[in-house]
């Protein structure tokens, strides 16, 4: 019974498979799908219930939904990414896994693949609900939803990569989960608002870049020209200062860079971390 270890790519798939099993057995995937369905139900059921009905414009209807995509992505990162690495150290499961003939980077990438697939399922389900609902209510849906979906997937990958970096650095699972959630849901958005108010374009911010997911339906047709301090569009959402709106291309570049940089940083930290 003498076998040599499988290739890195085979091992990556093995790690991903068992990580997916963890999400299924631990009810995480089921839990976040319930949250997704609940958000969608609220968006669909509340307007008629409070007697306001749906917006008359087919573009306004999905844009309301899209405001919650980033929350779902952050929740996915919290559920699937925040404890992926730190738990191996905190719960001591690394004592069984790390002495196996597998590179640590493969462990991390396998876990990342599993969390990306799970998050992709969540995001896809949400977009399917939006498209099906728009089709059912209005008989059509804006084509920009597909672009929004692709951007949401890239944003999800970047937030997950960042969550993996935090998970590699943090000492406890709870701290990692709390930090992941509040960083992307509160701290970075606050910084974006403050930079906006100071008339500084936060183009480098991952959450600012992620706002393209929803703004794609509301921004002017010539998106590239919308860059820079605009007329006080912020006033429309109650923000009394110029609002910078990200471009599609620059947002994509920022998000892809976040994926590469934070994932590499996560690998580097994980490989050096001692148990």
């Amino acid at each position: 019974m003498k076998s040599s270890p499988p290739s890195d790519s085979e091992q990556l798939h093995m790690v991903a498979r068992y990580e997916l099993l963890k999400y299924l057995r631990g009810q995480r995937l089921f839990g976040i799908l319930i949250i997704t369905a609940f958000i969608a139900w609220l968006m669909l059921a509340l307007p008629p219930l409070i007697g306001r009905g749906y917006p008359s414009d087919v573009r306004t209807f999905p844009s309301t939904f899209l405001n919650f995509v980033s929350i779902l992505i952050v929740l996915s990162a919290t559920f699937f990414g925040s404890d992926a690495i730190v738990s191996e150290f905190q719960q001591r499961t690394g004592y069984a896994l790390f002495p196996s003939p597998i590179r640590r980077r493969i462990i991390l990438l396998g876990k990342y693949l599993a969390s990306a697939l799970s998050s992709l399922l969540v995001v896809s389900v949400y977009y399917i609900i939006i498209i099906v609902s728009a089709q059912a209510i209005y008989g059509t849906f804006p084509g920009e939803l597909f672009l929004s979906y692709y951007l949401a997937v890239v944003y999800m990958l970047s937030i997950l990569a960042f969550a993996f970096f935090l998970s590699s650095v943090m000492k406890g699972s709870t701290g990692s989960a709390v930090l992941t959630f509040f960083l992307f849901q509160m701290i970075l958005p606050i910084i974006d608002v403050v930079l906006n108010s100071a008339d500084i374009d936060p183009w480098f911010s991952i959450t600012h870049a992620g706002s393209i997911i929803s703004s794609i339906l509301t921004m002017p047709p010539a998106m590239g020209e919308a860059r820079g301090p605009m007329q006080p569009t912020g006033a429309a959402v109650g923000i009394p200062y110029p609002l910078y709106i990200p471009e599609v291309l620059s947002s994509l570049i920022v998000m892809v860079n976040y994926i590469a940089i934070t994932l590499l940083a996560a690998i580097r930290v994980f490989e050096r971390r001692e148990l």
Binding site: K2, K22, R92, E274
Partner: protein
């Protein structure tokens, strides 16, 4: 094998130029007081931590630069590992077996056999989350043995087990010895090391004090322990007189009819001791030297190292 292996945590030297070579087929007991560097060595050997100096090799492959190849024919139990609570022992073994490149047939056959050996067969399909520490320790041993490795690195393998479990693990290690496997095993239980291992490496404050066969170590410390079983319990007066016999360091009554005599001397002196005991009227049913007094040697060498 380690070559000038060193590990420094901030300013604390956990390992100081450790040079250790373990030959194939040897069962090496790795001894030392708490903080001596035993677990640090084992963690370096299993790629859990990186050394700050020197090299560690398994099967001639550098663990630090190529852990995947170095660990491919190694089974390890480090501390008391935890396992994914949502998996069953069969699934856990399947996961680790797959990572090692075992086929599904090898995994299912190997799991069945090894879970039987560690007495976890009836728990094979129960979630590990409900397992006791001892059961997890048994599973840890099972995953280390699953792929039938040539080298086993065991960090206190009987820790957390009940006496029966400890006995069973020792029996497993003895079988490994018969199979010609190389076992590197740390333990706090000197009697366990004496029973299982043929070589002992003693570590203190990160430095190797001695590494030799147990039989050679007995020459370092001529102190032996002799277990005497008497037909009737010796009287206090008899005990006093035994304590005054030449070479006797101490006498401990471990049972009403059992004496444990710490004795210093060669085989001739031991024969005289036997004769003297009969002369004192101790009706012996057995007179059994228990070999080198590893504990005495251990304490002596640790004390010497501290000076």
């Amino acid at each position: 094998m380690t070559e000038n292996l060193g590990k420094v945590y901030n300013s604390f030297v956990a390992l100081d130029n450790l040079n250790l070579r373990v030959a194939t087929g040897v069962i090496l007991g790795f001894l030392g007081p708490n903080g001596a560097g035993k677990t640090t060595t084992i963690k370096i050997l299993t790629a859990l931590i990186k050394p700050t100096g020197g090299k560690a090799y398994l099967n001639g492959i550098d663990v630090t630069s190529n852990p995947k190849a170095a660990l491919s024919d190694v089974g390890a139990v480090v501390e008391t590992p935890e396992f994914y609570s949502y998996l069953t022992p069969n699934e856990m073994l399947s996961y680790l077996g797959e990572l090692r490149g075992m086929s599904s047939n090898e995994i299912s056959e190997g799991s069945r056999k090894i879970l039987d050996e560690v007495k976890l067969t009836e728990w094979a399909d129960k979630p590990i989350g409900s397992f006791s520490r001892g059961m997890k320790q048994r599973l840890a041993l099972a995953q280390a043995l699953l792929h039938d490795p040539m080298i086993l690195i065991l960090d206190e393998p009987t820790s957390g087990l009940d006496p029966r479990g400890m006995h069973e693990v020792r029996e497993i290690i003895k079988i490994l010895k018969e199979k010609g496997k190389t076992v590197f095993m740390s333990s706090h239980l000197l009697s366990e090391v004496q029973e299982i291992c043929d070589t002992v490496a003693l570590l203190d404050r990160g430095r190797l004090i001695v590494c030799d066969k147990i039989e050679n170590l007995s020459k370092i410390s001529p102190v032996k322990k002799i277990q005497v079983q008497a037909l009737v319990a010796p009287t206090d007066s008899q005990l006093d007189r035994i304590r005054r016999l030449t070479g006797v360091r101490s006498v401990e009554q471990t049972g009403s009819q059992v004496l444990l005599i710490e004795f210093e001397g060669d085989e001739g002196s031991m024969a005289e001791l036997h004769h003297s005991l009969l002369g004192l009227g101790v009706k012996m049913t057995s007179f059994k030297p228990t070999g080198a007094d590893l504990e005495g040697m251990y304490l002596e060498m640790i004390a010497e190292s501290a000076r």
